[in-house]
């Protein structure tokens, strides 16, 4: 069925990635998840269902949660992309990351980057969310280990420590 077609053009796309300006040569059809993991070596963003159903690949674009498996890299041109690798401060875990560590909000760890990024997006909008708001913000992130209770507690812990 697939017809032969001229190979698509690639373009230089400029965007900010974890606070640093980046320029990268990509095809329009390339997904952000593949660019992050394959071209840029940022494997913290996990590849889960590849269909927008699990949240493992959640990243922040302009501070809002987006799924890297449904987002084309070309869409990010001119925008601010943040991944789990961008949260550590001077080589130390962020407050939210520490809370996941200390409150046992992570077990096998596969969902954790997406979970933390989704929670980070929430805490930036709402530094003191109630449990309902936390559950709503994390509704798109599947975890098969923890049963979510420890994850909610970790986000609450991080929120309590907010200045």
């Amino acid at each position: 069925m697939q017809r032969d077609r001229p190979s698509p053009r690639t373009h230089i796309r400029a965007f900010r990635l974890n606070g640093r300006a980046r320029e990268i040569l990509v095809a329009d059809s390339e997904l952000l998840l593949d660019t992050l993991r394959e071209a840029l070596g940022l494997t913290g963003t996990k590849q889960g269902c590849d269909g927008g159903e699990c949240g493992a690949c959640t990243v922040l674009i302009d501070g809002r949660p987006r799924l890297a498996c449904l987002t084309r890299t070309e869409e990010c041109a001119g925008h601010d992309v943040e991944t789990i690798e961008g949260l550590a401060e001077n080589g130390r875990m962020s407050r939210l990351q520490r809370a996941f560590h200390e409150r046992l909000g992570t077990q096998c760890g596969y969902c954790t980057p997406g979970m933390i990024i989704a929670a980070e997006g929430l805490l930036r909008r709402d530094p003191a969310p109630d449990e309902t708001a936390i559950r709503a913000a994390l509704a798109g992130n599947l975890c098969r280990c923890t049963g979510y209770v420890k994850i909610i507690e970790a986000v609450q812990e991080a929120a309590r420590g907010a200045p």
């Binding site: 069925m1 697939q2 017809r3 077609r5 190979s7 698509p8 053009r9 095809a27 329009d28 059809s29 390339e30 997904l31 590849q47 590849d50 269909g51 927008g52 159903e53 949240g55 959640t58 674009i61 809002r64 949660p65 987006r66 799924l67 498996c69 449904l70 987002t71 084309r72 070309e74 869409e75 989704a118 997006g121 709503a136 913000a137 509704a139 798109g140 992130n141």
Partner: protein, 331 residues
């Protein structure tokens, strides 16, 4: 893992440029948030050479409120729609429907126009290419037989957008742009009862704006689904109900997830100018069950979806009519 087919993306910044791009690129498709399209393309459902991204057209991203109502640009994201103060104040059913789509990350990308033009869904369609080939392709794409109703002549894939019913109950109108010029039609006219061709849009036509009247009736939306988030409706129901002195003076009910198109219940006038009591709710349920036609397009039984649709309609009507409900938690 499935490989994304290669395509180019055009980013027109005006309606005229988008029409022009579509005319030049015959093997093109429009895209906005892409939350459904990207998954389908990876499944081999369509191989466009070019995607035309409509989100760079400023007028498609605006919400403007005036005396005659509200106009919503088709590329307004569901997150922005649900957060808009004007919409929150006047159209709670639309906010509920927008918040019922996917999860927060989908709503940051997905748009109202994309949700209205959402492809229909089916057990036999939303599958990987190898699954569909192994099962023999279906009528909707590449095949000749509908696996849901093999003796039938048409595709029964279900329309599964949440926004359409919440807009239909308010008599929304849509503005369409295309090579043949702009047109404005009732939203109901966008849809046809055919899962393989459910949108009445000519090639190159796309949604520009959705218009809502200024004084909507009180309304609500609820959906039944398997998962609490990131799930399409097994049945979705929107109800607008105006009551005076305990009597229903106006009623509109619209459904999604049960048919190849979202639709307004007909014959609803028979339920107006009456009090909401057990007999009235029974008549409402019968009317819903008569007009929905769920097929085996989801994992859950069609009969369950028929019954849950009528139960949701009853629950919303009771709540809007101010009746005390014994079980008012949303599905």
């Amino acid at each position: 893992m499935e490989i994304m087919p290669r395509f180019d993306v055009l980013r027109p910044t005006s309606v005229a440029a988008a029409i022009d791009d579509s005319r030049r690129c015959q093997a093109s498709r429009f895209v906005a948030g892409g939350t459904d399209l990207m998954v389908n393309l990876r499944h081999g459902l369509g191989t466009p050479e070019t995607l035309i991204d409509l989100r760079h057209i400023p007028e498609l991203r605006e919400i403007s409120a005036g005396e005659s109502g509200i106009a919503i640009g088709a590329a307004v994201t569901l997150a922005d729609l649900a957060a808009n103060p004007e919409i929150r104040q006047r159209y709670p059913a639309i906010v509920a429907a927008a918040c019922a789509v996917g999860a927060p990350a989908h709503r940051e990308a997905g748009t109202i126009g994309g949700n209205l033009c959402l492809d229909t869904r089916c057990l036999f369609y939303n599958r990987s290419a190898w699954w569909r080939e192994a099962n023999d392709f279906c009528l909707k794409h590449q095949g000749e037989t509908c696996h849901v109703a093999p003796t039938g002549k048409r595709c029964h894939a279900a329309f599964s957008g949440d926004l359409a019913p919440a807009l239909l109950i308010h008599d929304a109108e849509i503005e369409i742009a295309g090579a043949a010029g702009p047109r404005r039609v009732p939203l109901a006219d966008l849809y046809a009862e055919d899962g393989a061709a459910h949108l009445r849009l000519a090639r190159g036509e796309f949604l520009v704006r959705i218009h809502l009247p200024a004084d909507p009736w009180p309304a609500a939306y609820a959906k039944a689904r398997t998962r609490g988030a990131i799930d399409f409706p097994l049945a979705g129901v929107a109800v607008a109900l105006r009551a005076e002195a305990g009597k229903v003076t106006g009623l509109r009910v619209a459904l999604t997830g049960t048919n190849a198109r979202p639709f307004l219940l007909t014959g609803i006038e028979a339920l107006e100018n009456a009090c909401i009591d057990a007999a009235w709710l029974d008549r409402l349920a019968k009317l819903v069950q008569k007009q929905v036609s769920p097929m085996r397009t989801t994992l859950l039984a069609a009969q369950y979806r028929r019954r849950v649709a009528s139960a949701l309609a009853q629950r919303l009507a009771r709540a809007l009519g101010g009746m005390v409900t014994e079980n008012s938690t949303a599905a």
